[in-house]
């Protein structure tokens, strides 16, 4: 049985924040869960997926976050408890649905989880999604620990049903990826079957209906504020004259810093966990008892601005600060020492600086950037594209997935990246206004997510570029989740259909479509050249499974290769392909047989034919 289902109430378990959240949802009787995978939220859905295999939970990897939210919104409006999980930028995709869903509200509880990523450990930006709660007028909760992350999910479902509104549940990477001991609660049996009662004058958002619904939304927001005033998740501690307002992980750093600086008797801490709407009365009362207030929050001055506005309403003039050149930044994530230092600066107490070591005589350590796996099919495709475009001036818009790593030298395949699906749309723009050859890259999952509308646009408006679809049959980057193009039968999973990328591309009218097998280097280069010569939209589908996934499935792999005596040390293999299975020993190129997946690409490109399969593959 899944460990999150097997564990008993009252039991203590060591849980990752994301596991705690999944358990919280199970304890709350969640019946429908949807997502598009994205770090740092991925383990939540991974657990949902596993649990759905052995329980009544309906879970799906939807094609994108907007669809995921729509599925969940309908389930919730049929009275079924639902949860929709995404990374922060996914919320931008879902926002169209979100903004008007806020007008409609829900019947059964709906919790929308956004996992923000300060410092961008695995994201293209570090936007602060707390503003979505303001923009949509929805209540928002933010946990500070794994235990709270679990408990708050139950509160979120209750709150959602009480207000008949979706609730935004916001985490940051350090909540998702911290592990703590969590005490478990009871599991509620989910109600999986609902009903939708027709009520078009409250559900069909034509202008006349929406005008009324907006009034209701504001009323619900007012009710939410009164709940925020009494919520156990907004709490104080201490009674000194210096005020600190904090949320999420910042609360942990503040708690530790206050102890380290020995100022507990001088400060009052207000931890905000129900952070939209902010508890106006509580905060005002808090301000009245403080000489000065420091707001500690990663990201934007979301609370700081609100608190300053509250002070203005009360005519309070005490100093309130947070983001300031000598205090906190809007950049990156915080850490205990940084918060300690800022507290010391603001409240003018001494703080002994961190006792680091002198690093001036440490030699430069070679970088260890992540790279495409040994034998990754993307490397083979990029190599073929580089050969096919030799001597051409190109622009290569790329997209989001493992293959983004192809932008690094020596492959250098990738010039422009904004967001999911943008490779296709931006190709239209680049090809219109420049004379360069535009050749762009998108993965299979990303193509389904948001590449298709761009491609239709390209066909309709008769743009001129080549799109390479890197189809490795899985969503590799986030940990091998399935998508509509995955052959689910091959994974022994029942109840799914299969959507063919090739058929979609042909059906939308792309005039030049070819399919290549990237491990066949010569043929691939020829096909890509042909596609490049075509005037108009051409699509090359490069089909080869993800090597890492094949390994995980314990599929038989090819023989490992080795570099024979014939090697004349041109090093084309290293300089143009750079498979991480290569290494240099005694100034000779060698291949690590444990890493080599036997893709054969290096053997095909070696001008001396010096790279050969090992006879007896261990």
């Amino acid at each position: 049985m899944h460990k999150l289902l097997a564990a008993n109430p009252g039991q203590k378990m060591l849980l990752l924040g994301n596991e705690a959240i999944a358990r919280g949802a199970i304890e709350s009787g969640v019946a429908v869960a949807t997502t598009y995978p994205g770090t740092p939220s991925s383990e939540i859905s991974l657990n949902f997926f596993q649990i759905s295999q052995e329980s009544d939970l309906y879970f799906e990897y939807s094609t994108n976050e907007k669809v995921a939210l729509e599925v969940a919104a309908a389930a919730a409006n049929s009275g079924v408890r639902s949860m929709c999980v995404m990374k922060h930028v996914g919320m931008n995709v879902a926002a169209d649905a979100l903004m008007t869903l806020a007008y409609l509200g829900v019947k059964g509880g709906l919790v929308i989880l956004t996992a923000d990523d300060p410092f961008m450990f695995s994201s293209q930006n570090e936007q602060d999604n707390r503003y979505y709660s303001k923009l949509a007028g929805l209540p928002m909760l933010e946990p500070s620990s794994a235990q709270e992350a679990k408990d708050m999910v139950a509160f979120a479902f209750d709150l959602s049903e009480k207000l008949q509104q979706p609730v935004i549940y916001r985490t940051t990477t350090r909540i998702n990826h911290s592990t703590e001991v969590v005490v478990l609660g009871d599991i509620q049996t989910p109600i999986t079957q609902g009903d939708f009662i027709k009520d078009p004058f409250n559900y069909v958002t034509v202008p006349a209906v929406s005008r009324n619904l907006h009034v209701k939304l504001l009323e619900k927001l007012e009710t939410a504020e009164t709940i925020s005033e009494t919520s156990e998740y907004n709490f104080f501690s201490g009674d000194g004259p210096w005020g600190i307002v904090c949320n999420g992980v910042s609360y942990n750093y503040v708690s530790d810093a206050v102890k380290d600086l020995d100022i507990a008797h001088k400060v009052k801490i207000f931890r905000v966990g129900f952070s939209h709407p902010m508890p106006r009365v509580l905060i005002k009362d808090f301000l009245k008892e403080c000489e000065k207030v420091l707001v500690v929050e990663e990201g934007e001055p979301f609370m700081e601005e609100t608190i300053k506005a509250f002070a203005q309403e009360e005519g309070l003039t005490l100093p309130i600060n947070g983001k300031r050149n000598d205090l906190f930044s809007r950049l990156y994530e915080y850490n205990p020492a940084l918060v300690r230092q800022c507290l010391a600066t603001y409240f003018d107490v001494t703080c002994k600086p961190a006792a680091g070591v002198n690093l001036s005589d440490v030699p430069e350590i070679p970088q260890r950037p992540p790279s495409l796996c040994a034998g990754c099919s993307h490397r083979a495709t990029f190599y073929a594209v580089n050969k096919a475009t030799e001597g051409m001036e190109t622009i290569c818009p790329t997209d989001i997935g493992c293959y983004t790593l192809g932008f690094m030298p020596p492959l250098s395949a990738g010039d422009f990246l904004i967001c999911m699906g943008a490779s296709v749309g931006t190709s239209c723009g680049f090809s219109k206004v420049t004379d360069k050859k535009v050749i762009s890259f998108i993965g299979d999952s990303t193509f389904f997510h948001s590449g298709i509308p761009g491609l239709i646009n390209a066909v309709f408006n008769n743009h001129n570029f080549t799109l390479v679809i890197l189809d490795n049959g899985i969503t590799a980057m986030t940990g091998h989740q399935h998508h509509p193009g995955v052959d689910m039968k091959a994974l022994s999973m029942e109840g799914y259909a299969h959507v063919s990328i090739e058929e979609i591309v042909k059906a939308v009218g792309v005039p030049h479509v070819s399919v290549i097998r990237p491990y066949r280097v010569k043929k691939s280069i020829e096909s890509i050249k042909e596609a490049l010569n075509f005037k108009g939209v051409s699509v090359v589908i490069s089909k080869e499974g993800c090597t890492l996934f094949a390994k995980a499935l314990k599929k038989p792999r090819g023989r490992s290769f080795f570099v024979s005596e014939k090697c004349k040390d041109h090093r084309d293999c290293i300089n143009e392909l750079a498979c991480p299975a290569f290494f240099i020993e005694d100034n000779r190129v060698k291949i690590d047989p444990a890493l080599c997946s036997g893709c054969t690409v290096c053997a095909q490109i070696c001008p001396e034919h010096a790279i050969l399969p090992l006879k007896d593959d261990a």
């Binding site: 911290s178 205990p336 680091g356 020596p410 290569f582 290494f583």
Partner: protein, 198 residues
């Protein structure tokens, strides 16, 4: 209980997440407060994996520069890279078997000399325990048990509030059945190697 702060750095695939898990489960068994955090984005694509483990009453799950009490490095150049987490009282345990990053193969970086690396760490920290964990792992029966060898060495130092018995109990209950014997052996080898060095 005053906080003890432990950082573990490794290269993706070296199994440091399992080591952290065993440490966390041991703490749970022994009723020692523990909080951990890890950055494992892209770990499987050969990047660096860093875990921080905080024992005691602190609430934070991450460790600022200069504030680690113990640093365990699964790969020598990564140990050196993490020196920014250390101070003059830090105890450092490192594997000596290098896994040069690909940047070395393509000539955009030079792998540090192991002797220089050790004397640098020694000079800047309280104690360095350096061992060839890979050789010991192979001796235990599987090169993949480097994580358990280093865990053994870590526990031997007595720098974290966990006993050898508790950790062995966690290895028995929380690692895969088929590997328990091997893991215990690797743990013991690391433990005794560290006691000879210490």
């Amino acid at each position: 209980m005053n906080p003890t702060r432990l950082i573990i750095v490794a290269v993706g695939g070296q199994g440091n997440l399992l080591a952290s898990k065993v440490i966390g489960e041991s703490a749970l068994l022994a009723d020692v407060p523990v909080r951990m955090s890890e950055i494992h984005g892209m770990a499987q694509r050969g990047g660096v994996v860093e875990s921080s483990i905080v024992f005691g009453t602190a609430r934070s799950t991450i460790i600022s520069d200069g504030e680690a009490d113990v640093l365990v490095g699964f790969e020598p150049s990564e140990t050196l890279r993490a020196l920014n987490k250390c101070n003059s009282n830090t105890v450092v345990i490192t594997n000596l078997a290098p896994l040069p990053p690909f940047t070395v193969a393509v000539g955009s970086g030079i792998y540090p000399d192991l002797d220089v690396l050790q004397s640098l760490i020694k000079a800047k920290t309280a104690n360095l325990i350096a061992l060839d964990a890979e050789a010991l792992a192979i001796e235990a029966g599987n090169v993949l048990s480097v994580n358990m060898v280093l865990l053994g060495a870590l526990i031997q130092t007595g720098k974290i509030p966990l006993s050898s018995e508790t950790v062995k109990e966690a290895i028995k209950t929380k690692t895969k059945k088929a590997f328990v014997e091997l893991n215990l052996k690797a743990f013991e080898l690391g433990f005794s190697a560290a006691s000879q060095l210490g």
